[in-house]
Symmetry: C2
Subunit: 271 residues, 2 copies
């Protein structure tokens, strides 16, 4: 299950999202997607049987901050025309994880043999998009320099349940100087489709978070001297809700190996 590291292959254009997907689909690229097609939206993927899709869509509608749904496919349709006219969700993600009854069973690089006519694909925006906007503004994200991600925590903030789907709000923590925290609130407010503005700032205990206790030990828990922790809703929230609901069958992208789309990050900004 340890992720294959991307190997530099000069034969394809890493800046072009269509070329990235083609390398995944046809040339066996199975690595991380961070750094590929810079400036383009990468999406979290969750594929569920039709019988579970209505309640899950409602869960997303009720909890837009942790579940920033970019698009939902038609039933059984492996295309995602809202993200590109050239996506086949069965082949275009580097690695997939398959869950049965809420339990991880296997990781695969192609789901054509698992595809069914009743499957529905949900594609979510992720914080990569707003992290790019923060970096473009010169706001340091220390964990990126360390090849890490933001610290992830299970908070005591609630989400609104829908059918079998319920979860605590899972949050990511990024730490800034106070002035950069204010700027980060401004910048991420422009991106409601990728988690948007923070859900909390300051004392972690107010939302039931102990910075030393990360969810699945993921990410950087460091708060530097004179910095203030800022918390955003995290896309692991819907995944947590799905695992808890234990649908008989579910497919997700493998962590850090996401769907590269043709949407520009800047197109998600509301202004």
């Amino acid at each position: 299950m340890s992720a294959p590291r991307p190997v530099y292959d000069p034969s394809w254009d890493r800046a072009n999202p269509n070329e990235v997907r083609r390398s995944i689909r046809e040339r066996g690229y199975t690595g991380y997607t961070a750094g590929l097609a810079p400036g383009f939206v990468q999406a979290n993927i969750c594929i569920l049987p039709k019988d579970w899709a209505e309640d899950f869509l409602l869960f997303c509608q009720r909890n837009p901050k942790p579940c920033p749904l970019l698009t939902r496919s038609d039933v059984g349709d492996p295309s995602l025309p809202a993200l590109s006219d050239n996506i086949d969700i069965r082949t275009d993600v580097p690695r997939y994880q398959i869950f049965r009854n809420g339990e991880f069973t296997e990781e695969v690089t192609d789901i054509r043999s698992h595809w069914r006519d009743d499957l529905v694909t949900f594609a979510f925006g992720c914080s990569f998009s707003f992290e790019e906007a923060l970096q473009d503004d010169g706001i340091p994200l220390r964990f990126l320099a360390n090849n890490n991600v933001a610290g992830v925590y299970v908070s005591t903030m609630p989400t609104e349940a829908a059918g079998p789907f319920e979860a605590p709000l899972i949050v990511t923590m990024r730490s800034f100087t106070p002035q950069n925290a204010i700027r980060a609130i401004q910048i991420t407010s422009r991106f409601p489709n990728v988690h948007g503005a923070p859900v909390h700032i300051g004392d972690p205990a107010q939302i039931g978070v102990d910075l030393a206790k990360r969810y699945q030990n993921v990410g950087d828990p460091t708060v530097g001297e004179g910095e203030i922790p800022v918390f955003w809703a995290c896309g692991l929230t819907p995944q947590f809700a799905v695992m808890k609901a234990k649908p008989p069958f579910c497919i997700t992208h493998a962590p850090s190996s996401m769907l590269v789309t043709d949407l520009r990050n800047s197109s998600l900004a509301v202004m």
Copy 2:
């Protein structure tokens, strides 16, 4: 010097900025302007001799957060057409304070006898405008309910000097729940012409502020349980710079008795 309290007089329309100015000009109203002409911009006023105006304008240009200049008059011209086609700055402020060589000398209700052909009027936006936007969004400002103002502090944050004008950044403190603090940053970011986004959030000591030590004992220093203090640049900064520069002659509005304009608060929002 204690301010006369406004007396309710049903004979004039307190909702109409033009009527408010007429009552000040012709009917002897000399009270506070808070609550008059709701929804319309009230301006801080500073009147200086022409010889001091260029450097003061540069100080404002260099420090837009504490010095959100709405308009500057022509030399010797008592009108302010950018704020209304019907303003005479010599009569339309309820009470004025006159300073000579940086020292307060007298408070008057009319400056026609003090007017000179070399005087230049500076009109600044003030936080009343964004406080209205915060209240309209349902964000509590406890001090308003107590007929008080935000706590005022001299910070160690610098401003950029211009000629004889220099000052530390004076700040106002408002305290919120973390979620309301995030919302307040969003809302005030829309109002760059009335101080805009905060300059600091969290630990007051980081900007040299002790919440118990207010500037001239002005305002509410309270930070409630579970709240986070948020700091904005304050319009007393340019006034402080003027007093420190000791121009031979200067006229300002008296505290809380401001110029009521025809501009709507919402017109100052950049989006």
